[in-house]
């Protein structure tokens, strides 16, 4: 009799695991791959479930649409804000992501991931119309409850004035420091 609650919990755990594509998210790379897969989902409910499963409750998303080195339109907010704000765009277009390059910095329970991706946007009403662009994504994560969660994702698109490969170039700055 005493085993019943345990068995019920076990089944619940198994079901939950299956419903999120059997991902354990025990390494940062798995979270990134799942993030792009979630962003490709056409169905809002699926996209919402998959994205929210990757973020901490208070996670945020910031996106920058940059037209030139001087003009840009940053937007930001919660995951729910993002889902609501991008709904009409998803209704009109399908999106796919092809990751080109990834680098990870981490220390114990925090990680920062940088990723260059090739994004393809196809109009639903006219599949012959497609837009392609490169994006730089920057992710921050924390390790909690035996898995990695996203705390924030920010991205910016490539623009003509500057090569987006520069985004992956690391500048190491030594700071004069004294006690």
């Amino acid at each position: 009799m005493k085993l019943r609650p345990f068995i019920a919990l076990l089944f619940f755990g198994l079901l939950a695991s299956v419903s999120f594509g059997q991902s354990s998210f025990d390494n940062p790379s798995e979270v990134i791959t799942s993030f792009y897969r979630a962003m490709e989902q056409d169905d809002l409910a699926t996209r919402s479930t998959e994205l929210k499963a990757l973020f901490l409750e208070d996670g945020t998303i910031h996106s920058i649409v940059q037209k030139s080195s001087l003009t840009s339109s940053p937007k930001g907010g919660s995951v729910t804000d993002f889902l609501q704000g991008s709904g009409s765009f998803y209704r009109a277009n399908t999106m796919s992501y092809d990751e080109i390059e990834r680098s990870i910095d981490y220390y114990v329970d925090i990680a920062t991931v940088h990723s260059l991706v090739f994004q393809t946007i196809v109009e639903r009403g006219n599949t012959s119309v497609a837009y392609e662009q490169m994006l730089w994504f920057s992710f921050t994560m924390v390790f909690e409850n035996d898995r990695w969660f996203l705390t924030n994702v920010s991205w910016v698109n490539a623009f003509e004035d500057e090569d987006i490969d520069d985004a992956m170039r690391l500048d190491t700055l030594w700071h004069p420091t004294k006690d």
């Binding site: 945020t60 920058i64 940059q66 910095d105 730089w136 921050t140 910016v156 985004a167 992956m168």
Partner: protein, 287 residues
């Protein structure tokens, strides 16, 4: 008159521009400077949509990230600065940027001086920052991970050249409060092995002192010379690595135990003499 007016306007314009950091790194510096003082205004440094996450640990060792809105983070800073004099200094910043997005993954040195009793706590953390330029560079996300004793920082984020003068821990520890050794005119000898009493700063084992105590007890080793153990020496190199030195009259099995003890050590903070890391000899005793 016209020239004077132009000059005044120019000065005003210069002072206005001086308050707006021109690069993301300048903005980061400004943030750490401002958040070390009372009256920190989050709107000057953080986007309204930003979140600050601090990694904490529960009693059972599990992780819990605590999230703060900019306003809530400012309240934390306000409380901290009432209790302590705060000084936060980035040591190494690993920076990336493209267009109006910038990121920084950095090591930060923090010194807290208790306003009531003057006790000082020095600690370090890794912080991950994402910044967006929107009327000046502002923080979109800040995640803070304080140092975990078992995982010393890498040389990349805590290079000796920058951190030799930075002590860590509570100010009452002898390593921090030790009076500087009298300076001499002797020539620098890179091969010289110093005794602890010749140093400005003694070598320090990283992390919680309990970690070192546990290491000593697990190999039945002590630093207490009154316990009549068998002595051997360990040299802490300039880069913090430990190697076994003089093993005296130890038997083969005892030498093996002493070597295992040394190999189990983490990388030390090396001893400092004349503002430079030096080799230091420590004496241990097998029980």
């Amino acid at each position: 008159m016209h020239t004077a007016l132009t000059f005044v306007l120019l000065c005003l314009a210069t002072s206005m521009f001086a308050q707006v950091p021109s690069t993301s790194v300048d903005a980061l510096d400004a943030f750490y400077h401002a958040s070390s003082k009372a009256g920190f205004n989050p709107n000057d440094h953080l986007l309204s949509t930003a979140r600050c996450q601090v990694v904490t640990y529960t009693e059972d060792g599990s992780t819990k990230a605590i999230s703060f809105t900019p306003q809530a983070y400012a309240v934390q800073i306000d409380t901290l600065t009432k209790l302590f004099e705060v000084d936060q200094q980035p040591v190494v910043i690993l920076s990336r940027y493209y267009g109006h997005l910038a990121t920084a993954y950095l090591s930060l040195y923090t010194r807290l001086v208790d306003r009531q009793n003057g006790d000082t706590l020095r600690l370090r953390s890794i912080q991950s920052v994402q910044m967006i330029e929107q009327n000046g560079w502002k923080i979109a996300s800040l995640v803070i991970q304080n140092e975990v004793d078992a995982y010393p920082f890498s040389e990349e984020l805590w290079p000796r050249e920058l951190s030799a003068d930075l002590t860590l821990g509570v100010g009452s520890s002898p390593q921090i409060d030790a009076a500087p050794a009298p300076t001499t005119d002797e020539d620098y000898d890179p091969n010289k092995v110093y005794n602890v009493d010749q140093l400005q700063v003694a070598p320090e084992y990283p992390g919680d002192p309990a970690l070192f105590t546990s290491l000593l007890s697990s190999f039945e080793v002590t630093m207490d010379d009154s316990l009549e153990g068998s002595p051997f020496t360990v040299v802490i190199e300039e880069d913090g690595f430990a190697r076994i030195g003089y093993v005296g009259d130890l038997s083969g099995a005892e030498i093996e135990r002493a070597e295992s003890f040394v190999q189990s050590m983490l990388i030390w903070y090396p001893g400092v003499h004349d503002d430079a890391s030096v080799k230091t000899k420590l004496i241990f005793y097998l029980l």
